[in-house]
Amino acid sequence: MTVTLTDVSTGVGAPADVAGVGPALRRRRPPRPGVVVAGAYLAALAVAAVAPRLLAPGDPLAADPRVVLTPPGAAHWFGTDHLGRDVWTRVVHGAAHSLTIGIAATAVAVTAGVLLGLLAGLAHRFADEALSRSFDALSAFPMLLLALLFITVAGPGTISLIVAIGVATLPHYARVVRGQTLLVRRSGYVEQAITFGSSRPRLVVRHILPNVVGPVPVLAVIGLGEAILAAAGLSFLGMGPQPPSPEWGAMLSEGRNYLQVAWWISVLPGLAVTLTVAALTVLGRHWQARFDGRWS
């Protein structure tokens, strides 16, 4: 007689000496449904940002006093706002604003962060210490307050938003890149390459740079979500693109006054932010998991 016994609540993952389990786990699997949905959403978002008229042919600024505060329905999928503007059209056209700010801010942060992080990681002890402490100092400011300080100095607007968020998120990338640089510098393969007689520039270009920069795009995708979230917050506070620009955070702020009678004006643009950030996170984590499997 054979009996199956299971003890689900206990036990550690499969012991190491199970033949074949390790490699089998790492074999590529079809992406999970969540990843596919996230990818599809982001693709649609990209279309909305590049060619919004394909999804919403109307004018995002066109007010129509006859249809003020219409609830979502067949004529207006997302309803209309207090000026009778079509919320769907505004959300679609707002994608470009949010994405532009997010991508530009992330680009600023990644470019500066990677350069400074590499410098710190490759520099001698004193310079590294000085750079690392300045990353610490920069990240001591809560991101939103740092951005507000910047806006106080430079005034509100899209460019301010981009630079402020870029500077505030820069230390994160710089730290990761510095850590990765140190790791790669001390790695077995760099040491091995020294025994091949490789010169220092060759080591940096052939082995250190590619292995340090490799994981950065994945980080940037996840970071892009955070930047979009921060931009929406600042726009909500009135620090970003000024009305009547259809920026998601600003739309939400405008719609706030009509919350009791028309929830859709503020909630639907907010959901667009949530879905965008969530989709970017899902996709980023998916790439990260694949990356970790490949790189280490």
């Binding site: 100092a137 400011f141 507000l148 979230l229 009135g238």
Partner: protein
Amino acid sequence: MAGSPLRPVLRRVGSGLVVLWAAATAAYLALLAAPGDTVDAIVGEGADTPQIRADIVAEWGLDRPAVVQYLDYLGRLVTGDLGRSYLLQRPVAEVIGEQLAPTLALALAAAGLGVLLAVTVAIGTAGDRRPWLRRASSGAELLLVSTPSFLIGIVLLSVLSFRFGLFPVAGAHGFGSLVLPAVTLALPIAGLLAQVLRDGLDRALDEPFVLTARARGVRERVVLLRHALRHASLPAVTLAGWLFGILLGGAVIVEQVFGRPGLGQVTLAAVTAKDMPVVLAVVTLSAAVYVAVNTAADLTYLLVDPRLRRS
């Protein structure tokens, strides 16, 4: 060997001070970088009279060499002098002091609630006991972390306050007015903290010491609480400083959504009116608290993990 156990403590406190100095300097540089001359930046959109300009020059020592100005600024910070708002015609410390209490109440309530939620959720969903619950919770956390806090606030407001009238719509009077803002601020924190904690728990549960603990016949709950949770709390502790930043930044937004008085409202008003002394003070103060919180977290780390006590 008397000094050796203190060495790691001193090192952490020392590096905290260095960061603090660098942060104060960065804030000072922002002032210098402002367009126009420093007097313009400090006046902001307040009344601009020759008398006020003279006061500013005197207070900031603008007629003296740059190095002296800078050292003077640091000296005033060390003594707790945050300067004077020429827009409000009041010392900045007074302005901030008045509005500190509601923001502090909000931040502490949110932090407590967030941590409590995160720990409960992480413990309930760690390991592979209930995969469906785990998936559901991961999904919820992802959405919470991805949602702007003002959206959470607005949804809560429109459902619980406008529709059902359970909580006041605005203000900071009594416990009832604290609930929705605190929940709004706590939810994204709980989402992220729960992810970090569960990751830590999962990693700890894969460690060999968990296998040996189980092999001793220890209950699963005890394995989680006594062994795994302490290990999982270590990475979470390092997030304390970051958590604080989110609380402060979030407070600005949440106070705006719920029309709650507090530091956030002061800051926003100052940013809009370009009241530089107030903005600088808020930013520098929050950096100082961040460094203090982070240093405390590092020291806690030292307390929890005996391996780090070796110098």
